[in-house]
Point group: C2
Chain length 294, copies 2
């Protein structure tokens, strides 16, 4: 029996989620839920309310992070399992505490923060922590576009469009490369100063450049390097490095699909990725993965 999945939200990640569900042999895409209904996508029904889709096992919640909690609460109350890529690191613990009782009350499972960071990178940081309990882990993001920083720049007066790239300098220090298209009559030096004083940028080395057309700079490729040098038992100088060069929304969507599969295998409750067995994210029989991967 295929897992009946719905995609909630049809922005950047939602579009890739539709592809990732279609590519998963053990899943069936029953429909897409959007705020404003519209034409079907190929032969996939598009609706404004998930209840129009009939039976749904799991919803991939692809709305912006700040809208995730409301959406997930509603879906769990319907007894539908959820997966999201909520990415506000400082609020994940609180969100988990809030959603856990709701999920258990409705016999449902919520897997939260199931993107690549937070998400897969969190699993890597956990493994590094138990392999070398003494030491420091550095997460170095980029090179790639930062959505949060880009939105912050777009909010500044005089900015018509913008893109902010994150460049890793090592040991968790980042450079910000900001490309702005100015509104008519805006003063570049004023805009540049406002960006460099913005809370998103004030602590980082930030370079600002005027460009004619921001869209020509957009590339959804992103990267991360996680490094740890630490102590295993009493033995120092254990070196670890995890590196990815990936297409941001494609990987997020793929991890959400894997987490949706894992959601179907848990007892009711709310989970982050570090609380779930890695094998549960894989389709098919556990014993065969043990044979192939262990």
């Amino acid at each position: 029996m295929a897992i009946k999945a719905a995609v909630v939200g049809y922005g950047n990640i939602g579009r890739f989620a539709v592809e990732a569900v279609a590519a998963a042999a053990d899943m069936e895409l029953v429909g897409i839920v959007r705020r404003k209904g519209s034409n079907n996508v190929g032969d996939i029904p598009v609706v404004t309310s998930i209840e129009e889709l009939g039976e749904v096992d799991v919803a991939l919640v692809c709305v912006p992070s700040r809208l995730v909690p409301t959406q997930v609460r509603k879906l769990l109350a319907l007894g539908i399992n959820t997966v999201d890529s909520f990415d506000i690191h400082g609020e994940i613990r609180r969100l988990r505490s809030e959603l856990g009782p709701i999920a258990r009350r409705h016999d449902a499972v919520a897997v939260i923060a199931a993107g690549w960071d937070p998400g897969a990178d969190s699993v890597i940081r956990s493994i590094l922590q138990f392999m070398a309990p003494g030491g420091i882990t550095y997460t170095n993001f980029g090179p790639g576009m930062s959505m949060g920083h880009t939105v912050a720049v777009k909010a500044i007066a005089g900015v018509k469009d913008a893109v902010s790239l994150t460049i890793p300098l090592g040991t968790g220090v980042h450079r910000r490369m900001v490309y702005v298209e100015l509104e008519d009559g805006a003063d570049f030096d004023e805009v540049k100063g406002a960006i460099q004083q913005d809370p998103y940028f004030i602590h980082d080395e930030t370079h600002v450049f005027p460009v004619d057309d921001v869209r020509q700079l957009v590339d959804m490729g992103h990267g991360v390097v996680i490094e740890r040098k630490g102590v295993a038992g009493k033995t120092h100088n254990q070196l670890f490095r995890w590196e990815m060069r990936i297409t941001n929304p494609a990987l997020t969507a793929q991890i959400m699909v894997a987490a949706a599969r894992a959601a179907m295998r848990q007892e009711s409750g709310c989970y982050t990725l570090i609380e779930l067995p890695p094998v549960d994210f894989l389709p098919g029989e556990r014993e065969e993965w043990i044979e192939a991967l262990v």
Copy 2:
């Protein structure tokens, strides 16, 4: 309440396991079990039978892989949880099937193949598999000593002592660098030919060198690079790389200690690392690790 751990076997890994348990604030080392009793190690009792140690929550089984199944069966029958670093890849699935019912019958937990490969690397391969379901994962070992290959060389006539180094050439292809100390009167070319025809070496590029003193070449440092280039959803060219440069027995022992902690948190049964939540390997409170690592 500290977890009461015993170390069974006091060879190379056993010695590092004693250090790793001592470094774990949530564990208490109640004793070491050896075939032949001997003097205590510092103030740690050394016994020939684990029953002499009183209450033991979990045993770190640090005997050679071929002796692991017998030891683990005996310990599980006493209701003692076990962790081992059994490393014969082709036999792990069968061992798990055999030990699971024994563990459940005695309300105990066995975590098997809990080293770095199989073990932590198996978890990495699982994560790569669900992040990019289409593609190929290559595990490249080295540079470092291969115990299995070294033992194979030592069994060849005319070899007094030897060490075999594994050199990664990429895409899972390895070169073998073999250093041999000859018995008096042995012919180097004959020994070299016998090594190159041995099943352990016949499929790999193998170089053999005579040396005066093999012990001067021994360095327990080892490395691994796991690479995958694959497809997330329908998006190609997703690139992943995991690299470690570690002290072989120290990392094995540290992972066994973390797995011993995880064993205390599972329902009775037999598990490989890919079947356990990463957070269960970490000491203390789950919520604090979610805050720190997710």
